[in-house]
């Protein structure tokens, strides 16, 4: 009796594992099939240059989406990431005269600070994350525009470290791609191996229960919003290095792309379930879509919007189907 039950439990766990694997590999599957389609249709798709382009172009969004994923896992949402990217880039560009190190640290510090503000408002003041970050987003955008007097700030070529961060290579690997790889591994490790990570999942799943069991939700929330703010700043710095300029109007709408990538990766918006690597796949899927539209090059912009919206919807439905099968 007991044996059959434990066997049943084991079986159930196996099938759940499989389903979860599919949820993450569902997007991977889509990504691969899209890639296969593209390599037949466009002879230039499978060139090393194009593939590197895709990875490099999307590394900033990937960084932002990582922060978003962690916030979403904790049951929150962060709409301020786009504005923070702009702010981080602008601050870095303004400080670039003082040397790369100052610029990079300054850029990241400024957004980390705003991440802390988000975290405090959400945790201490118990405000709803959607609203808090909606308004810190517009505040940060306003700040970025104000301190630059609405202009883009060129990064002087003297700030070689900053430029290297955005455009450099180590061996044949672009630096931004390397940063993304490191960050995702670190975040994966943090989420699945550390106490903090477990607590992120726990409060995202059931905050009240976690609180009663001795998790301090305020501290965890503060941590995730700070983390997200920090990553946005980093993405902004990398972007400034890549473009050679800090732009107050940069990264408009990245928050929705980041959310879309997270959801495409199968992380549930209610929190508590999901992982980071699928988000990366989601980012690449989004990026590849843009890349293909460019390679095709003849679709009018409005049809591009229709295709994007339709495609996103399709992925979401697909994910839902897989999740329901569980």
């Amino acid at each position: 009796m007991a044996a059959t039950r434990s066997l049943a439990v084991a079986g159930m766990r196996l099938s759940k594992r499989l389903a979860r694997l599919l949820t993450s590999q569902g997007v991977l599957l889509m990504l691969l099939s899209l890639a296969v389609f593209a390599s037949f249709r466009y002879e230039t798709f499978l060139t090393p240059l194009n593939l590197m382009n895709i990875m490099r172009q999307n590394s900033m969004l990937a960084i932002v989406a990582l922060g978003m994923t962690v916030v979403i896992l904790s049951g929150g949402i962060d709409l301020s990431v786009g504005s923070l990217v702009a702010l981080g880039g602008v601050v870095a560009a303004l400080l670039a005269g003082q040397g790369s190190f100052v610029a990079i640290v300054g850029g990241i510090a400024s957004t980390t600070l705003l991440g802390v503000v988000n975290g405090l408002l959400v945790s201490r003041a118990r405000l709803q994350p959607f609203v808090v970050t909606l308004f810190t987003a517009s505040a940060a955008r306003g700040l970025a525009l104000s301190i630059t007097e609405e202009r883009s700030i060129a990064v002087p070529s003297a700030a070689s470290g900053l430029v290297w961060l955005g455009r450099g290579f180590i061996g044949f690997v672009p630096v931004p791609v390397l940063i993304v790889a490191l960050l995702y591994f670190a975040a994966w490790f943090m989420l699945h191996k550390s106490r903090l990570g477990l607590h992120v999942f726990a409060i995202g799943d059931n905050e009240e229960a976690s609180r009663l069991m001795g998790v301090n939700p305020n501290r965890v929330k503060l941590a995730v919003y700070t983390f997200s703010g920090m990553l946005s700043g980093l993405a902004g710095v990398v972007l400034a290095g890549r473009l050679g300029a800090g732009q107050p109007v940069a990264a408009f709408g990245w928050e929705t792309d980041a959310i879309a990538a997270t959801v495409m990766g199968g992380t549930f918006l209610v929190g508590g379930q999901g992982s980071v690597f699928p988000t990366l796949v989601g980012v690449l899927l989004l990026g590849m879509m843009y890349n293909l539209l460019n390679l095709e090059g003849t679709i009018t912009p409005w049809w591009q919007l229709v295709l994007r919206g339709g495609f996103l919807l399709m992925v979401v439905i697909f994910q839902q189907r897989i999740a329901q099968r569980e």
């Binding site: 766990r13 759940k16 106490r195 609180r211």
Partner: protein
């Protein structure tokens, strides 16, 4: 025998109010070393609130708490750190994390912040084994049934090696065997010097394990006394604040009710119900005015049976006839239209709409009847609410109070009223008296019997076998998703039911339930 003299925890003049409504009005409470201290009282007396103040889950408005030194806990973590651990009334676990993660949440074995999962899992296995539980530490909590979740919550609390262990109605969803395992553990902990606060509405349990009892009523402590010197009747009187002669005798309020519905017309015929792997041939036939009990072990499919009858789960086979009419039950709406009502076992998830008022919750199902041209008549709504709040004795500051602010028992009454204020023919009750105090329980049982006398058919699930024996005319026993026996008359006794539940229907003289019909 432990000499229970030293005081571990002492609370004086604790006050707490929620947005102006007093839950506690100056409670004193004293817990001695190595005792099991029962905390009893009607629904809404303030037991859970007192417990949450002990652990820092709520902040008290005033009063002192002495735990060696005067202490004020800001949150449950601080209380845990000094050895005060609680299992709360609503099971508080994190669904999509594993059993081991839940048991160690907030105090994971770790090195530089990195969790030692192997140690966590092995220690969890040990803890579960000690409780006689066969659960994989790595399975997700959401995949467990309520009883197992409850046991996991208890295991978690026990594993702290706490000085003070608080159990708020831990047994409300456990079976007898699990309860006895729990009691053995409690006795052992007691012998090791742990003090336990134990909340339950089941008196046998109190007398089985508890040393002393504190009775709360309306946010005040009425008495603290050794249970050995207090008999049941006195205890009930303290709880209800009434004189002994007012309090009726008998185990349940069903006792002595007329039980005669043989001549009434047939109400429900459900045959060979099938649903996923959980139900595989359940047949039920019942008449107007009949109370039929549904017995079975945990997971035997009782809840699924009533849920499919109500259209809450899609039926995958079998037929349901009400008064001879074949029903097609696609969703609860269809069932309600046909005159079926359903009270779920999970009040919080399936019953109440927390942010809405008592009035809205009570009239929710009846709303279409109170509506003309799409507009809800406030007047008729109020009349209805007044009538039923009075008839069921619902305790609330007003009909406009939010339902989540009521205590569990009163919430249950509101939910029952939700169906009574509509014309129903068949009432499906899943654990209608779970977590409800004696007073309210009696009222609800009386009410059920009264309704049956008026011609309503009642199909009732209960884990308390006495309730089934005394309350129902017939008891149908389920096992592994099948109806295996039907007991009535002489056969309908506790021993027989338990036997069939556990062993199947091979006992002589027990009528086999018919899957083929006459």
């Amino acid at each position: 025998m432990t000499q229970a003299t030293r005081t571990v925890l002492c609370m004086r003049d604790i006050k707490k109010s929620f947005s102006g409504v007093s839950a506690l009005r100056g409670v004193d409470f004293e817990l001695k070393a190595g005792e099991i201290h029962a905390l009893v009282g009607e629904n809404g007396a303030g037991k859970s609130t007192l417990i949450k103040i002990m652990t820092g889950a709520y902040r008290r408005d005033s009063g002192v708490m002495d735990y060696g030194d005067p202490v004020t806990f800001q949150n449950p973590t601080e209380a845990q750190a000094v050895g005060i651990v609680a299992v709360y009334q609503e099971i508080h676990l994190v669904g999509f994390r594993t059993v081991a993660e839940n048991i160690f949440l907030g105090r994971e074995p770790h090195r530089f912040g990195i969790i030692d999962r192997r140690r966590m899992n092995t220690e969890t296995s040990e803890i579960l084994e000690r409780l006689g539980l066969d659960i994989d530490p790595r399975s997700l909590v959401s995949s467990l049934n309520i009883a197992h979740r409850q046991m996991v919550a208890i295991a978690r609390a026990i594993s702290f090696g706490a000085r003070v262990l608080i159990l708020d109605e831990p047994t409300s969803s456990l079976t007898e065997t699990e309860v006895s395992v729990l009691f053995n553990v409690m006795r052992r902990l007691k012998s090791e010097g742990t003090s336990i606060v134990y909340v339950s509405h089941r008196f046998e349990e109190l007398y089985a394990v508890c040393d002393r009892v504190t009775v709360l009523r309306d946010g005040c402590n009425i008495v603290t006394q050794s249970l050995a010197t207090l008999n049941r009747l006195e205890l009930v009187c303290y709880m209800l604040g009434r004189e002994p002669e007012e309090v009726s005798k008998g185990v349940t309020a069903f006792a002595g009710r007329s039980q005669n519905a043989v001549n009434r017309p047939v109400l429900l015929q459900a045959e060979a119900l099938k649903y996923k792997k959980r139900l595989d041939g359940v047949s039920i036939e019942m008449r107007h005015g009949e109370i039929v009990g549904l017995a079975g072990l945990l997971g035997s499919g009782r809840s699924e049976t009533v849920r499919t009858l109500f259209g809450a789960e899609p039926l995958e086979g079998g037929t349901v006839k009400l008064e001879g009419n074949l029903l097609s039950l696609r969703d609860p709406h269809d069932a309600i239209d046909a005159g079926i009502a359903f009270l779920s076992e999970d009040r919080k998830a399936d019953g109440i709409i927390p942010e809405l008022s008592v009035r809205e919750n009570l009239t929710l199902a009846a709303l279409p009847n109170l509506t003309q041209w799409g507009i809800v008549s406030r007047k008729r709504q109020n009349e209805l609410v007044d009538r039923f709040m009075q008839r069921l004795g619902i305790k609330a500051t007003s009909a406009e109070q939010k339902i989540h602010e009521l205590s569990g028992g009163n919430q249950q009454k509101v939910l029952l009223a939700r169906w009574l204020c509509k014309n129903t023919k068949l009432l499906l009750l899943d654990e209608p008296t779970r977590g409800i105090d004696v007073g309210a329980k009696g009222e609800i049982q009386r009410l059920i019997a009264e309704l049956a006398e008026q011609g309503l058919g009642v199909l009732m699930i209960s884990s308390e076998v006495e309730e089934l024996v005394e309350g129902s005319q017939r008891v149908i026993v389920l096992r592994d998703g099948r109806s295996i026996a039907e007991l009535s008359g002489e056969q309908k006794n506790i021993k027989a039911i338990l036997h069939v539940m556990a062993e199947g229907a091979r006992q002589e003289g027990v009528k086999q339930s018919r899957t083929d019909n006459e």
